[in-house]
Amino acid sequence: MSSESSLFSHRWLPLLLAAPMLLLILIFFYAPIIQAFYWSFFLERPFGGGSEFVGWDNFRRVLADPEFWNAGWRTVIFMVVASSLAVALPLILAVAADRKIRLSLTARNVLVWPKGVAGASIGVVFAFVFNPFVGILAPINHVFPGAWAPGLDGTDAFITLIIAHVWGGIPFNFVILLAGLQSIPRTMFQAAAMDGAGPWRRIFDVQLPLIMPQLFLTLVLEFTESVTSAFALIDTITKGGPGGSTNLLVYKIYTDGFSGYDLSGASTQTAILMVFVAFLTAAQFLLLGRSVNYER
């Protein structure tokens, strides 16, 4: 690593080159975050004027609010279920596409396409796909009326969200995992095969341990992203309903702040969510990251 830093001889040049990006991050990321943390200690009026410092009051109130905890638990459930599936499914697909089977080249290409679809568009499409009257599950409703009712049943709505999220997450994770699998030297495989290891054995003892860095990366990204990226899906499919059953924290913050003009409440929840995601990522690096071996 130390040899690479000598590539730039000038001391300020690297910083100068990075400055535009740093400035953007500063203006569009750190400034709003600081503002949110600042507002979370005030009772802020939407049109300004007369804001009042209230110390930790906002935090005390939010943490005592059962609706915040409900939304928080829904966020955690969504995070665990959706991101596990969004890594597990692409892993299966990548392992399949990595083997020299027919159509694996086509599959590699086709599976990347959903990456080009915006979250909101995915939401609109899935709202139709899972419509109880005209969607793919409509036949079930013909036999058992009311069995699939995402407009009424919170669990059905939640399942729709998870499927839409996993579908949208497949391409990126697939590309990363496949790249990892393809970088494994063939000779290792051949050696394992010669020692009598079957296909399953080779997957679990050779492939999976060797793509740990990629798996770790996709998991960390998925966990942090699933907290926020569900927004577009919720906004287009369920609007947080029915009965608040798909109201995840990120959507609750938006509606509180932008529809309800409750800037302090929304800022406080943003601050709490930020700290939570930071802790989560740190925990993943500390606990999981240690066991990941980057050397080959």
């Binding site: 009042e52 309800g260 003009y261």
Partner: protein, 436 residues
């Protein structure tokens, strides 16, 4: 450092622009579709009618986005002179210190000309009008006459008892969706409370102070909402998500459902959809027997004058507001959208126009009649803090009751509890402000 230079440059630029075009001013609105077309036509007509002032009308896509942008713009001093805000944001505006009451800016206008229901929603408890009602709507009762007659109902329902009797006949005739509701507070809860004379919160729905508390869970509206749940079980009532269309207006317009309560603003679409297929009947919203009818609330939006502008711009804005108030402009708005006129002289103008029986004015007289029914201090309007948030709380809780996970009474008690917490925080946020 860099940011401050940028800000300074931007400030200089805007200063240069605004001084060059002094009689120019902006008006922000939130509507889309046919309403937006009508608004833009009015802007063009104003600009063509005189040369002293020029209005630039800027569409923001929705009422909520318009409000969000107004908040951000006001904080950075880039706000327009005129802005349209929707009914539920009234209290936020009244306390914002960002607007000037229209009655102060235009003291010579005969504001008593405004129909009562439209006026009281936007005036202070002392009776001063804060904003000029613009695209006003109210709740009306829509009936698919053809379907009802097919089921043997010849007299159009006027009471809830009539509706249920008709719904049972429709169901017996094999109709799958006699009555549909969107389950939204504005139509199912607020307008019902108003016309039955029921308070939503203490302090006359907040008009008399920020210390109001919700009381709706103890009034007759609780019984009505429980009735809706029971009728839904009986197959007489559907909520939007029960319908094939997934949207109650579409479900009614396509003929899937036979009766609904909807804004007068959706009349034009329903009439177009029914053309040649069904006969549409639009009436006053139903009452329960034994209850005296009171006025319904105004919906839609009104126009506010924002603070911090030069006199020339304000003069232009005044001219534009005068223009919009003219009977022929209001008639144009009513004819092209189904929104209801807001001043009493417009009805006379319609009667004189020779077009009085025309379909395009069908909502005008019934809408005005509905908003002009006798009122009580509880039917002036809703002046409650974080009310937009409360609407989603109420929606969330009642959805649980419709899904059967809790009873309507429990749902309403929960909504009251959560609503009161919002009110207390709002009260604390505006501790130093005075409710006008």
């Amino acid at each position: 450092m860099k940011i401050s230079i940028l800000v300074a440059a931007a400030a200089l630029l805007t200063a240069a622009c605004s001084s060059a075009q002094a009689a120019n001013f902006e008006f922000w609105y939130g509507n889309t579709g046919s309403v937006e077309k009508a608004i833009l036509a009015q802007c063009d007509a104003f600009n063509a009618s005189q040369s002293a002032n020029h209005v630039t009308c800027v569409g923001q896509g929705s009422y909520e986005v318009s409000m969000q942008k107004a908040i951000a713009a006001y904080r950075s001093n880039k706000h327009p002179v005129l802005i349209q805000f929707f009914d539920a944001g009234t209290l936020d505006l009244l306390l914002s210190d960002a607007v000037v009451p229209v009655q102060d800016v235009l003291p010579d206008v005969d504001w008593n000309n405004y129909i009562k229901g439209a006026r009281s929603y936007y005036e202070t408890s002392g009776g001063k009008l804060y904003s000029q009602p613009y695209n006003a709507s109210t709740l009306l009762f829509y009936v698919n006459k053809t379907e009802l007659e097919k089921a043997g109902v010849t007299e159009m329902p006027k009471t809830w008892e009539d509706i249920i009797e008709a719904a049972r006949k429709l169901k017996a005739a094999g109709h799958e969706c006699p009555y549909v509701t969107n389950g939204e507070p504005w139509s199912m809860f607020e307008q019902f409370s108003a016309r039955h004379g029921l308070p939503i919160a203490s302090e006359h729905n907040g008009y008399d102070g920020l210390n109001a508390e919700y009381v709706f869970n103890t009034t007759f509206v609780a019984k009505h909402l429980q009735n809706l749940v029971d009728w839904r079980k009986e197959g007489l009532v559907k909520i939007a998500s029960d319908t094939k269309a997934g949207n109650y207006t579409a479900a009614f317009n396509s003929g899937e459902c036979a009766m609904m309560e909807n804004s007068s603003g959706s009349y034009t679409d329903s009439a177009k959809a029914f053309d040649g297929k069904y006969e549409l009947s639009v009436n006053l919203t139903p009452m329960y027997k034994g209850y005296e009818r009171h006025n319904t609330f105004v919906g839609g939006a009104s126009i506010y004058i924002m603070k911090g502008h030069e006199q020339a711009e304000i003069d232009g804005a005044k001219a534009f507001l005068d223009f919009l108030r003219k009977p022929e402009q209001q008639m144009f708005m009513t004819a092209s959208t189904g929104y209801v006129p807001v001043t009493t002289d417009v009805l006379d103008a319609i009667a004189k126009s020779g077009d009085a029986g025309s379909r395009k004015y069908a909502t005008a007289s019934v809408g005005i009649e509905s908003m002009n029914e006798p009122g009580t201090p509880d039917t002036r309007g809703i002046r409650l803090g974080f009310y937009v948030q409360f609407r989603s709380v109420l929606m969330e809780e009642t959805q649980k009751a419709f899904a059967g996970t809790e009873t309507m009474q429990v749902a309403l008690d929960n909504a009251k509890k959560r609503g009161d917490e919002l009110l207390r925080r709002f009260e604390q946020t505006y501790k130093t402000a005075k409710l006008p």
